[in-house]
Assembly symmetry: C2
Homo-oligomer: 200 residues x 2
C-alpha cells in the first residue's frame, strides 16, 4: 500500500520546495492534516492571495503589494544612493540592519552563463536607465562573494564607469564573532586584501 | 522595512510546520511566488481537499480517503494479526518493506504523562475492542524504543495478557549496514539483550 491519493499529492507538492526532502514533506503533510479545517482554509487562501497581490516594483524590482514599492515611495529615503542586490531576500537582510537609508535595485538574479543567465535575463538594463534618468551619486554593490556575484559586480562596474559616479562594494572578511583559526582560506585572503589603515 | 503584508503572512504560515525555521519559511515563500499562478491555485486546492477527504479509518485509525481504509478492506490481508504503531507514517514505513501482510492499529500517539497524553487520549480502548471482537492470534508491537514507546508497549502487554494471544515486539539492535564501533551504548545493550541462538 502507498499513501492514499490526496495525501500522496500533498506530500508530492511539499517536495517541490527547495530544501524539502521526502521525509520533511511527509512531516509537513501530516502536520497539515492535524490542523483544524479553518486553519487549512486560511493557509490555502493566503497562498493564492500572496501570489495574486505581490508583484515587482516597476522602479527597483523589489517584491511588494504596492507599486512603486514601500521603499521607492518613501520620501525619507536618500534618493541619490542605490544598493544593488540579487534578490528581495537580500534587500530584507540589509533592511534589518537599519543602517542603510538609500534606495535599492533588485537584479532578480546574477550573471551565470552556465545556467544560461545572461545580461538580458536580469535587471541590469533597468539599472542603467535609473542611473541615466535619476540623480544618483553612489551605487553600492551588495552581491554575494561567489563566482556569479563577482562576475555581475565586475560587469556593472564596467558598464557604469562612463557615468563618473561613486561605485562601491560591501566589505568581505571575517564575520563578527567568528574565530580566525576556523576561517577558510578564501575568506581570510579577502580579509587581508580588504584591510584598513587604523587612523589615530 | 519589513516584508510586505501578504508575504509576511505567507512566511509566518510556513513557519508553523515542524522543522521549518524562519530561513526555510522565507525560501519556501519566495519559491511559491515564483511558481505560475495555476500551480499555486492547484496547491491551494490540494491542501483543502486533502484535509476534507482524509479521515481516520473507523477500524484501525489509519489515515485514509476511504472508510474502512484500503488495508482493513483488503481481503488478501491476514486478519488474525494486528501490528500496533503510533502514527500513520509508521504504518507506511512498515508497508514499504512489503514483508508484513496482516492488519494494523494506529494508536495516534504514545503514552506520555509529561505531555498530558494518557490512556484515554490514544486508541488503546479501540484496540481492546478489536482483540475482544475479532479473531486475533497475534499482536505485534511496533512502537519506537523511546521512553514513551516502552511505556506504551508495557501497558498494552499487561492489558492484553488475559486474552492469552501471542504478543511480540519488533527487534531492536544495530541497524543493517551500520558499524558496531559507532553504535551508541543503549542500542548495543539492546542488541546484546536481543541476541539469538544460531541454529545449525
Amino acid at each position: 500500500m502507498e499513501y492514499t491519493k490526496p495525501l500522496a499529492q500533498l506530500i508530492e507538492f511539499f517536495q517541490k520546495f527547495p530544501g524539502i526532502g521526502p521525509k520533511s514533506a511527509q512531516r509537513m503533510a501530516f502536520h497539515l492534516l492535524k490542523m483544524p479545517l479553518s486553519e487549512v482554509q486560511r493557509f490555502s487562501k493566503i497562498l493564492v492571495e500572496a501570489k495574486e497581490n505581490i508583484h515587482y516594483c516597476n522602479i527597483c524590482f523589489n517584491m511588494s503589494a504596492s507599486n512603486p514599492c514601500e521603499i521607492c515611495s518613501d520620501d525619507r529615503r536618500d534618493k541619490t544612493v542605490i544598493c544593488v542586490v540579487a534578490e528581495t531576500k537580500d534587500l530584507i537582510a540589509i533592511e534589518k540592519t537599519r543602517e542603510y537609508k538609500g534606495l535599492y535595485h533588485v537584479l532578480q538574479g546574477t550573471l551565470s552563463p552556465l545556467d544560461g543567465i545572461g545580461v538580458e535575463d536580469i535587471r541590469i538594463k533597468e539599472l542603467l536607465t535609473r542611473v541615466t534618468d535619476e540623480n544618483i551619486k553612489e551605487i553600492i554593490l551588495a552581491l554575494s562573494p561567489s563566482v556569479e556575484g563577482e562576475a555581475t559586480s565586475m560587469y556593472i562596474t564596467k558598464l557604469l564607469k562612463p557615468f563618473k559616479i561613486k561605485i562601491s562594494r560591501i566589505a568581505f572578511g571575517l564575520p563578527i564573532g567568528s574565530d580566525l583559526e576556523f576561517a577558510d582560506e578564501i575568506t581570510l585572503a579577502k580579509a587581508i586584501e580588504g584591510r584598513r589603515i587604523i587612523e589615530d
